[in-house]
Amino acid sequence: MNRRNFLQALGVSGGVSTLAACGIDDNRYYTPIEQILPYVVRPEQITPGMPTYFATCIGTGPNAYPALAVHREGRVINVGANTRAPADNAIPVSSFMELQRHYSPDRVKQPTADGQAISWEDGQKKLTDAVQAARSGGKKVVYLGAYQTGAFAQLMDGFTGGNNVHWEALGRDAEATAANQLFGSPALPFYNIAKAHYVLSFGAEFLGGSWGGAWSQSAFSHARDRDDGQFVARYSLVAPMRSQSGANADDWYAATPGSEAQVALAVAKLVAEAKHYSGPATKLVAGADVAAAAAAAGIDAAAIEEMAKHFAANPALALPGGVSGQSGSATELAAAVYALNIVSGHNLMTSGGYAGQVSSFADLEALVADMKAGKVGVLLIDDADPVHSLPGGDFAEAMGSVGLTVSVSSHVSETSAICNVTLPSSDVFEDWGHEEPLLGFHIIRQPAMTPLNDTRSLGDVVLATWRAVDAANAPAGSWHDAVKAFALANLFNTPAPAVVEDAVEDAVEVVPVTVEGEVVEEAIVDDGGAAFVTWWAKVLADGAYVSPAYGNKVALALTGGITFAPAVMAGAGELFLHVYEHAHTGDGRFANQPWAQELPDPLTGQVWDSWVLMHPETAKSLGVEDNSLVSLTTDAGTIEIGVEMAPYIRKDVVAVAFGQGRTTASGRYAENCGRNVVDLLAATKGAHGALALQQAKVSAKSAGKPAELVNTFSWEDGDDNRGFAVVANHKDYEKHGDDAQHDGGEFTNMHFPKLDKRLNESGIAGFYPEPDHPTYRFALTVDTDKCTGCGACAVACYAENNLPIVGKQKVREGREMGWIRVNRYLKGDEIHFVPMMCQHCGHAPCESVCPVLATYHTIDGLNAMVYNRCAGTRYCSNACPFSQRKFNYHTYAWPEPFNLQLNPDVVTRTMGVMEKCTFCVQRIRRVKSAYKDAHGFTSVVPEEALGQLVACAEACPSQALTFGNHNNETSTTRTSRKSGRNYFPLEDLNLYPAVNYLAKVSFHVEHAAHGGGHGGAEASHDAPAHEPTENHEPAHKPAGH
């Protein structure tokens, strides 16, 4: 072969391979060929490709919220706050857990009996026969479920003859009992947090937990917001540790578990003296002893005086204990808090709280006794899991003595696993319903999609059973009719009060009424006429209805008294065992939701596990450190659990979150996540019958090996003065607020040093030119003072943007995919939450380094990421100073039916590409399109349609996030940059980010020193009024002002 031949050969073979590479492809279409399946009959309200919003109700009892279910092509893909409901646009983080629970692969898909699948007819017959037998045998038919009100409670009352137990593991029965004793009614009081200048909480999880949920979070945000009342609410916490809500407290008085009631009463006594109170509550507070209370709580008497001083000075509100205060004296604590609120005369605690049935622990004990005695013929168990979460552990045994145990929940649990029969009910997105979380505030639940599985509405099942056994007394019609009949009888023609807040108009059109195929006009049981039909359609469209009772809040009149008995801590251990609420799994009901498990715990950053919190010095004395396994022993039992060291807990207390430690019975994701703290508890009651969760002393010893905790917050000691978490002095803030008369960043000293005047004169505004965006420059403002760390933004982002769940092992490898993370920075025992997401920098380092232009700046000021142009060099992530880009290490799949929840407007990414926050560009696209349709092609989307447009801002119950168009002079995102609290993390890098942060307002920081440059953070932290880093002794805290 000579050279010429060789070259020829090379040419030919090269040509052939090129042709092959082009693909000789018979199929000229994408593979696989996709199908289009149009409707047979298209429902009127639904336009394929466009979302339909159904106003509905998520949650039950006091934690029911008006919400919008976002419907696309037959399935619910997201939830959002209902802007038309006459209430704060707030939904709790648990609504998203509810959404994911709806699509859980572990949902019960059809009726079963003893583990065998049966038909609904058989199941219904079994239930009917058992009820029939129970009735004829004189046995009870009992319903056990979570807190519920309204139509369903009424129905069940009728069906079971009042044998309803509405019990929750982390319930509010102590408050109800105390209210019953003091005020003669078990209805819970209403706490007007928004008007409080001083909030004294005895451990209530009111900023994100189950105690007050989203509304109290929203109310506190208003109280904290200077523009809303010319004050900054101060929040003091009396609790053994800072939980997620407690992390936001300005002052933390670390009282021993069980001593809160004494402290509250002591404060009440001092407040009564200061306010010269002489009303009926005098006898309640007379017995208090400040010195004894201080001694019992292990805090200074001066601290109690400090609390009383603040409480007496301004409108103040005390909140009871919730889970944290659920000691043997929980009822006393609630009563003391009531007394404190009454003697202060601030009148922020009124009637009008949750008025539904709150069963006490005594009720449950009675039920267990009845069950054991064979008096219960049929036990219907709804969303309650006593087998997992009831201390004492004899519920499962008692279930054996019941004629027929029926699980009517659509979700699995330890309890449902041992029920005789499972009759899965439709869940909140598939069913009708009605709830009344606050007196007079009615929320109507309507189905947002057809049932996913072979489930039936529980109301229909009950009605059918009732009619089968007692046709004479049973109501006619379906459950849907029953809800309407309830509304007609109880709500219709009650004039709505005038105090309805203006519903915010939205670009979104809320579609009224019902599911497909159902016509409003038919089957009205008790005819209310055409007026009712119109009214009903409007109520459904609004999702909520406010009756006069809601506006009629009055001071609670003291009619009774209570005896105060101190809490007893049982056991021989040297440490107190403190039980607190897991921030995301609630009382354990969301333990099987991957979002709840993978979202880092706000305080510790732990995922997929439970852990014991202990003070570093306690850990040191035990010879353990982070992630060591220790065994905790009480009189009731022993568990082995990993250690998480934390400075925000008393040294003599160890804390374990409630709600983890589920078994396989609770589903594949809950399995093996942590330990169940209930194993350490006995069925101890207080003097007034409340179950004591804070009941035991515990002895801890090292198990001598590491645990398997995964901590995503790798850095323990704060932000190292890098200016990510910045605080401003409250006096500055109260004086000047967020008005624009002051230089941006004045209170934080985090502003960039001013340029020389001569540069300004020659038109040079900064190191780089301001980015040029003609119409929009989308921007986000994050108020870290309002952020409570609840994580609603993060989980909303998971829901909106199809973020995959990676599981514990991959998180351990550092591969969680969250686009927003609520970073926690510690300064001593002070905790500062800062949500971090892509900052959409005007001069973004990631953009210039991408070799293939997969990331670039859009004309709207967004830092765009085009997934299918990305080759995966990951250079952008290295260049990103905020480390806010996430890499798809694998192609993750969504186990069915999770895939049904995926947002069709967002592609799911495959392995090897980068992704990050897009500012929900799909929503921006949609709103722009809507405005073009309505107002012409060159129309600009106004600010009011943008404020809560992005998923995180929409979900934030505290309204800490505001989205907007920076080009608009009046937008919040623009004006907030002139706030004295404004700061940009890493401002000295000249990135011109689109996200600006507002500093947290602190009562413990002096004025920011006026030095130059970016070192302001140090200046802010150098002179705290007290020095938490050096002195962890909680008893001396805080010095205050």
């Binding site: 072969m1 190292d720 920075y825 070799p851 142009r869 250079y875 992530s877 090897g912």
Partner: protein, 450 residues
Amino acid sequence: MSDLTSGAPNRPQSYGAANRDIIRVLLTPDVGYFLGLMTAIVAMVYGGYCWYLQITYGMGIAGITHPTMWGVYIVTFVFWIGIGHAGTLISAILFLVRSRWRTGVYRASEAMTVFAVMTALLFPTLHLGRCWQAYWFFPYPNQRMLWLNFKSPLVWDVFAISTYFTVSAVFFYVGLVPDIAIFRDHSKGLVKRVYSVLALGWHGTNRQWHHYMAAYGFFAALAAPLVLSVHSVVSWDFAVAPTAGWHSTIFPPYFVAGAIFSGCAMVISLLMPLVYMFKWEKYVNIWHYENLAKMCLLTSGILTYAYCMEYFIGWYSQNPYEQGIFFWRADPSADYGWAFWLMVFCNCIAPLFWYFKKLRTNPWSLFIIAAIANVGMWMERFNFIVSSLAHHFDPATWWVYYPNWIEVGILIGSAGWFFTWFILFCKTFPAVAITEIKEMIPPPLKGELS
């Protein structure tokens, strides 16, 4: 010629002897050779298998983790690019300055350059999340109307390295041509035909030599600046990003010095066993090694200075991010403290032993310290790449990275790939430049040929 003889004893006495010595290695290889080759191939296949797994399941089965997005792959990439520097430096720059000690070592080091760059070229592809899209990094017309981002240092890399590879390969080949002709003349059958094609019709005529030397000089002049430019460009991959610990103007000179240091050390490490195996002590000996060691000593000094300057600037800037990175990196109790101090020992302290002539001329100390220097240069890249990322700006994202078995497998595989080429080359082409060796032999008298 007296200046040339002083350091180079045991020179062959005739052209024929030189031919025989070099051509001897083409004869049937022994078991040792095959064992070496098989080891290299096994390592290569192992690395290939790891890569296959990585493509199938995603980067997630390697150890890289947020925020350390570049791990062993880029470390090894920079390492091999650095190794690839010595060859061209020795052959081109020393050729231009007429430093005659290059003759014995330049061929092997050029081969090393070409193969090292070939190895390095694997890694940019290998570390991609979607390596099947690697062709996007070249500007080519397409219906999507997409172009490259010429602001990106990675695109500069593509041009710099492909240019360097092309020029090095051509330069290498040009230098080989007269020697291939000798092989052609001493072989027969199919082998002869292959060498005939590769020799490009070389007959050693005066006219050919005239053109040849012009071309060689031209390529030498073309390649010389590339030595400086390529690693400067590679350093911009880091220096252009705002990441603390990378964002430094000292990077280009510091990289070039490091590259020459590691390259020369690698030449020592490669040549010593090779010379021992092929018994070429006549052509390559202590004189050459000592010169290489001197180069290492110089560049090690530059490196030490650069390390000190990095720390000085980190401290002097009072920039919390810079300080944070540099102090953390050097903290012996921190996660990467061991890597830092290993690097300091290997790159700054170990070469100091070569200050002593005795150690500089002792084969064992030469070999061991050169090996240490190679380890040290890998650790250097590991140090600044990984530690700067693991402790990025935001403390809340800090996360420590360690390579896992997939990455180690691919690292081993890359060595296998390199040595496979090198070992094959040694048996098929002269690893010592015959024609240039001959230049050092006094011109033969009549009758002395053969």
